[in-house]
Amino acid sequence: MSAVDVDLLIVGAGPVGLYGAFYAGVRGLSVAVVDSLSQVGGQVSALYPEKQILDVAGFPSVTGRTLIGNLVEQAAAYDPLYLLGQEAQRLERTVVDDGPDLLVVTTSSGTEVTCRAVVVTGGIGTFTPRALPAGEQLLGRGLEYFVPSAQAYVGTDVVIVGGGDSAVDWALMLQPVAASVTLVHRREAFRAHHGSLQALRATDVRIITGAQVSETVGDEALEAVVVTVKGEPPQTLPCQRLVAALGFTANLGPLREWGLELHDNRHLVVDSAMRTNVTGVFAAGDVNDYDGKVRLIAVGFGEVATAVNNAAVHLDPAAQLFPGHSTDLGALVPA
């Protein structure tokens, strides 16, 4: 159990949450960003990192990956604390007489975040990797759902399951260091970016389509997997590292217990200052709702600036709502 004390907690490290972290810095607020995924970028990183996004102001065309990288860089000037791979679960309030109430958010890793305001930028909710039924019992002992670094894969026989960008990206990332990489996909067609797939086909990665990992072998640690191609006898491949990149399911999750007013059973109702019905809790981006709501990244950026500036006034009622212009702030990035 660890404890963190910040002015503002942002729940959700998607594009809108990352921009909110930047804006918290502009307002001089200390900020933490919690996300259930072990990587930043939310839906953009998890579902379409290679897609060209054409409707972000000032960017005629930008890939999801570049947009997220830029947002992280923009926020980095203020050194936000990232709490990744943990889900914001419980919200408790301590009433304070002469200031904003203390809010304590406990995460799934047991981190207690004490703050004075929360901005929920939770998008479509907590992402949970889709499980690989044949390997669930070996999770953490050979089976993984994410590849944050190649280190644990050096010299191993790797099998990756899936046909999306994550599966292909990870195969490309691990191919230079692993003893062998095999990509197993249930269908003939891949959903991954065409360019990455071409790059993959130029390597020695073995690609097996129309196939599933039907069984895993190993007690203490993974030793082999059984791959079944439709209409063929099953084949056993030596495998110490199995990566299941089968996509995600998303759900609003524990936020449902925070006493927030919901619309359509999935969106948080906010006013024009992005306040929810729970004092000190704001919401921006895809997760919120109001009359006339349009769910676009471009809109979320504006909303989170509104939310963070209003949160700054909630923290200090003497503060001005308007933050000033960034051009007046001098060098945002410390020299």
Partner: protein, 109 residues
């Protein structure tokens, strides 16, 4: 702004789309699958996996199938045969299981 499933799904129901959908918003009727327009996030993950190309964005549906844009919505907002209330936005097909009935458009197909 959701995706919709049109007539080619009828009596096929491959369900690959249900495996792909990140928000579990594809519900199972008796002969066809339906996308909940209130729950769909427009991500498009379902479209390429459909073996009969029944899925498209609501603004790009083939002319001959445009009635299915409204029909996908109808599955959730109208009271289906044998039920007392519309399905609404249940928050995931795994919660409801197969619904097992269809809209009149599909039943009559």
């Amino acid at each position: 702004m959701p995706y919709v499933i049109a007539a080619p799904c009828i009596d096929i129901m491959d369900k690959s789309c249900m495996e792909e959908c990140p928000v579990d918003c594809i519900y199972e009727g008796e002969r066809k699958l339906y996308i909940n327009p209130k729950e769909c996030i427009d991500c498009g993950a379902c479209e390429p996996v459909c073996p009969v190309e029944a899925i498209s964005q609501d603004r790009r549906v083939d002319e001959e199938h445009t009635d299915h844009v409204e029909d996908n919505r109808r599955f959730f907002v109208e009271v289906l045969p044998g039920r007392d209330a519309p399905l609404g936005a249940p928050g995931g097909a795994h919660k409801t299981g197969a619904i097992g009935v269809d809209t009149p458009l599909v039943t009559g197909a």
